[in-house]
């Protein structure tokens, strides 16, 4: 009897164990199916991470622009009814620190998007970190400072791995060659300045290499592009970033017969460059500068007014490109005490572009849908229209995104001379401005 009971009990226990095992297996299968088929849980708030070198004026201005965009979005009811939270981290300009805070934002703070307002070199470190994290932590990455092509080249070369990355800047290097050098500058030099002989100056930085050497399969060097547009390059030089004396350069430019000095510079000592141009034999040859401090209001005082007559591509002037331009500039100064400088427009516009994409996707958690929407976004921006190339993820250049050309005129006024529809005045040769 006892043996029978023991045998029965053993059988019963074995059946229970078997039943439990079956239940566990079924639960596991159902769980896996659920995980991969059900949509992710809806978030209560939308978190955006911002990384910059908070000791640099560029990142500080971009940070303020990000804060302004988020504040405005929340005041208008958020995105899809959800409040937006901006989490700010300082990279201190160091790649290891950037990688560390990027991971913290994505893995611990679980941000939907990371905005990196630093140079393209730092953006490359970020995109590679993001690519490692993306499979487990889907998110969006936007680099908003830096014209180098390195970011979108990653997307071009491996879309599946880097599709989460977007680049927003006034121009990319290829955009400089295919749009700025091919169309805009020849129009400004020939049509506005009445100049056909060009002296080319390049700073010795990575971003000018494509301009000097061309981009295989995209464009020949800038010199050749100019010559195809009817300009003659009569002088060419590369200046070192640590150079302080430029007077001998201007002696040679004056001797070359140049009618305009085209300067692809932004990081050299522009204040010394401009001061020495203004008192050199080349002082009456128009100076066109692509970027840097020459396009900032501080240039007038920094050069003691010797920037008079200089033309520069600058988005820091109160020209109403769209109905958002002036309010953006005013609010940035009034609310955050910083002026808009390079990177602030692109950061602000990128956040609004992201907002539009989230609304088009109808979800703040379905990252794949948001990426797809970002490739289709066309949203009114501070500098025109924000949108990204659907295949390569760089922001759409001119005529979508516009950087006005200004000339420094009397009294330190930055007068827009191009595009014509927002021009505030006419170009005046430097010799006439000096009287």
């Amino acid at each position: 009897m006892v043996k029978l009971l023991r045998h029965g009990l053993k059988e019963a226990i074995t059946k229970i164990q078997g039943a439990i095992l079956v239940v566990i297996i079924i639960a596991a299968v159902v769980g896996v199916i659920t995980y991969y088929t059900l949509p992710p849980p809806e978030v209560r708030e939308i978190k955006i991470g911002f990384i910059g070198n908070l000791a640099s004026p560029y990142s500080l201005s971009a940070k303020a622009a990000a804060q302004l965009a988020v504040e405005e979005i929340n005041e208008a009811g958020g995105i899809l009814g959800k409040r937006v939270t901006l989490i700010i981290e300082d990279s201190k300009g160091e790649k290891p620190k950037l990688v560390e805070v990027y991971k913290k934002l994505v893995m611990m703070d679980r941000v939907l998007a990371v905005i990196v307002a630093e140079s393209v070199e730092m953006g490359v470190a970020a995109i590679q970190t993001g690519a490692e994290l993306y499979p487990e932590y889907p998110h969006i990455f936007i680099c908003t400072i830096g014209s180098g092509d390195a970011i979108w080249h990653h997307v071009r070369d491996n879309y599946e791995k880097y599709k989460f990355a977007f680049q927003t800047y006034y121009f990319t290097s290829s955009g400089y060659l295919t749009v700025l050098a091919k169309t805009l500058l020849p129009h400004i030099f020939k049509g506005i300045m009445n100049a056909t002989k060009v002296a080319e100056i390049y700073e010795d930085m990575a971003w000018t290499i494509p301009l000097r050497e061309g981009i295989s399969g995209v464009s020949p060097p800038k010199k050749q592009v100019y010559e195809e547009q009817g300009l003659t390059v009569v002088f060419q030089a590369v200046v070192s970033v640590d150079q302080k004396m430029f007077t001998t350069l201007f002696e040679q430019i004056a001797a070359s017969g140049a009618e305009v000095i085209d300067c692809a510079i932004g990081y050299i000592d522009e204040v010394a460059f401009i001061k020495q141009w203004a008192e050199s034999p080349a002082r009456n040859i128009p100076l066109y500068i692509w970027g840097g401090i020459a396009g900032m209001p501080a240039a007038w005082n920094a050069t003691e007014g010797k920037v008079l007559g200089v033309c520069v591509g600058s988005s820091l002037v109160r020209a109403p490109i769209t109905q958002k331009t002036i309010p953006f500039m005013d609010n940035l100064v009034q609310k955050y005490g910083v002026g808009p400088i390079f990177g602030s427009h692109t950061t602000y516009d990128s956040i609004y572009g992201l907002k539009k994409a989230i609304e088009m996707a109808g979800s703040a958690s379905d990252v794949e849908a948001i990426i797809s929407a970002m490739e289709k976004v066309r949203e009114v921006a501070v500098l025109g229209t924000i949108g990204w190339d659907p295949r390569y993820h760089y922001n759409l250049p001119y005529p979508h995104y516009i950087t006005p050309t200004i000339q420094w005129q009397k009294g330190g006024e930055m007068v827009v001379i191009w595009p014509e529809n927002v021009a505030m005045g006419k170009y005046i040769p430097p010799a006439l401005l000096r009287g």
Partner: protein, 291 residues
């Protein structure tokens, strides 16, 4: 064409040489008298500009009062550095160099925080506006003034060291400190005077070159680099050597600018320095004596 090129090269050699002389004089003086490799020397270029700007902007003083106050403040800072760092660590050269560099970096970062490049710092010290045509060259008038002032300052300092009693004492100290002490020289007072004298050329330099130099918080480092190269090439602490080295480097920069590429100016100067030092390790005129 060749004659014009020759004129340009010669003229800019003189201009550059005179300006580099102003930049390096104070550094040579400190090396020669105090035997200190003053890595914080770049600080005084910064202080000249940023103190003047600060007094004009924050205290609303005029240019001349601001410059006067800046000079006084600079001299006090120089004396404080001598008493707090140089005198204390004169036997511990590594600590001395590190501390003087640290002070320099602290001020550099402070000015970068208070007045970054976007603050548009400038001091309106242009003496002559416009350009001057000299032969084939068209040169900024202020640059010519800076070069002439550089030459004048050098002449005055040279006369001081060769013709005055105090100058003689300083030269004696630079040759033999112990013997000088035995002769009754008050070393501390002479050292203080040397520190004060070393600051004056940097003040004059920045007031002269500000109209054509880029003003930014990091400008002290390239100026210090120029001073170091010239001082080492001329013979560390040797004023005569610094004078020769300044014009030699100026000539190389000018020659390379006009015949090769302005971009290689600095590199060419450094290569020249290293070639000369390979054959004359003490520099052009020998180290460790003032003249």
């Amino acid at each position: 064409m060749m004659w014009e090129l020759f004129q340009l090269i010669m003229l800019y050699s003189l201009i550059f040489g005179s300006i580099y002389l102003l930049i390096s004089l104070g550094f040579s003086l400190i090396c020669g008298v105090l035997r200190i490799f003053h890595l914080g020397y770049g600080l005084h270029f910064l202080l000249t500009v940023y103190l003047t700007w600060m007094f004009m902007k924050e205290l609303q003083l005029g240019l001349i009062p601001s410059i006067t106050l800046m000079v006084i403040t600079q001299l006090l800072i120089a004396i404080a550095m001598y008493l707090g760092i140089f005198r204390k660590f004169v036997e511990e050269e590594e600590k001395l160099m590190t501390l003087s560099l640290l002070v320099f970096l602290i001020f550099e970062n402070l000015f970068n925080y208070l007045y970054p490049i976007t603050a548009g710092v400038n001091i309106p010290v242009t003496i002559m506006k416009g350009v001057i045509n000299i032969g084939a060259a068209t040169i900024s008038s202020q640059m010519v003034v800076a070069a002439l002032v550089g030459l004048a300052t050098t002449c005055l300092l040279t006369i001081f060291f060769l013709r005055t009693r105090t100058g003689l004492i300083m030269r004696a100290i630079s040759q033999n400190l112990v013997a000088s002490m035995l002769m009754g020289v008050n070393i501390n007072i002479v050292y203080c005077l040397a520190i004060i004298l070393s600051v004056i050329p940097t003040i004059i330099c920045m007031l002269m070159i500000s109209p054509f130099w880029g003003i930014e918080p990091s400008m002290g480092t390239p100026l210090l680099s120029i001073a170091i190269v010239i001082s080492i090439l001329g013979g560390l602490g040797n004023l005569k050597g610094s004078i020769i080295a300044s014009f030699l480097i100026g000539a190389v920069h000018s020659l390379v600018s006009f015949t090769l590429n302005p971009r290689f100016m600095m590199l060419a100067g450094l290569l020249l320095a290293i070639i000369i030092l390979t054959f004359k390790s003490e520099g052009l005129c020998g180290a460790e004596r003032l003249w």
